[in-house]
């Protein structure tokens, strides 16, 4: 399934990054970060075109030879990026969308923990478990 999942905060600082084992971590970080610019672009363009769907799911942000980079943003300006292998054609757009929604839901639970300080790195057993299940396709 996914090779990288990342949650990026309001001020574009990473709150959580998961990278599949054996992957080039740095490269994927870089790709995720580049995705942010595209997300920013998409958000601003939407406000200018009335009648847009204003969907939280932003679809494919861009693709390289090896990877596809997908994006999602919440109303609270948190950005999610999921990266998959370009070769993986079994994943449909709708499945990516569902993954994001699950991720969003997991993130929401983290925020609702009274001991979590918003904007801080996410260190939560439940979230780890949830992401692991998500990327494993369970």
């Amino acid at each position: 399934m996914a090779v990288c999942v990342s949650v990026i905060g309001k001020e574009n600082s990473p709150l959580y990054v998961w990278v599949g084992s054996g992957r080039e971590e740095l490269h994927l970080h870089y790709l995720a970060h580049t995705g942010l610019d595209v997300i920013q672009e998409k958000i601003t363009s939407v406000t200018k075109t009335p009648g847009d769907t204003r969907d939280l799911y932003l679809g494919l942000l861009y693709a390289t030879e090896e990877y596809k980079v997908f994006g999602y943003t919440t109303n609270t300006r948190i950005k999610f990026v999921i990266i998959t292998d370009a070769a993986n054609t079994t994943l449909r757009d709708n499945e990516i969308r569902m993954m994001f929604r699950r991720l969003h839901s997991l993130y929401t639970n983290v925020v609702c923990n009274p001991f979590y300080i918003p904007g801080h790195q996410i260190s939560s057993r439940e979230f780890d478990k949830g992401v692991a299940a998500l990327v494993a396709g369970n």
Partner: protein, 179 residues
């Protein structure tokens, strides 16, 4: 897609989350105000006691449960109240042989739905307000009980369990000058 049609959120569910989150903020504030976790536990119990004293009147008014002269009745009413106010159906069990002690067991605890205890507050009895509520509510219907947590999912237990023990039945107040 219009925003309204996307609102799949169950409004009931959300309003339950409101008290869960409010309670979370309150506990966080107490931890900030007190240095000692035991003081927080005590304060939560006291708040619960105050709530219990008012909540029982609302419960009596809504459910019209009649009077309780037996601890099994009382346990049933507590179960009913958990359903009404917290939306969970705890099981009642582990009766002591003398029938004066029982457990209220929850599979999920709505008070602590999103909580993960940080390392430094492992001594915190996060949902201690519930034991206070039980004590306060019972006292208003002439029943002195003790209530305390013996298992908590936040601390790795399989379920959340509150123990309730009958202490004594309280008598009517005698009018001034007639005792």
């Amino acid at each position: 897609m219009s925003r309204q049609s996307m609102r799949a959120n169950d409004p009931k569910k959300v309003s339950g989350e409101l008290f869960t989150l409010t309670y979370g903020s309150l506990v966080a504030q107490l931890l900030k105000d007190y240095e000692n976790v035991d003081d927080v536990n005590r304060q939560l119990e006291r708040m619960g006691y105050n709530i219990g004293m008012r909540l029982i009147e609302d419960f009596l008014a809504r459910a019209n449960p009649g009077r309780c002269y037996d601890l099994r009745d009382t346990a049933d009413k507590i179960q009913q109240a958990f359903k009404l106010y917290l939306g969970v159906s705890p099981s009642i069990g582990s009766w002591s042989p003398g029938g004066d002690e029982f457990s209220v067991v929850m599979e999920t605890n709505p008070m602590a739905e999103f909580v993960e205890l940080p390392e430094h507050c492992l001594g915190l009895r996060y949902s201690n307000i519930l034991s206070g509520v039980i004590r306060g509510a019972c006292e208003m219907v002439q029943l002195e009980v003790m209530a305390w947590f013996i298992a908590d999912q936040l601390k790795g237990d399989n379920m959340t369990e509150i123990r309730v023990k009958f202490v004594k039945r309280l008598e009517d107040a005698i009018p001034a000058g007639e005792d």
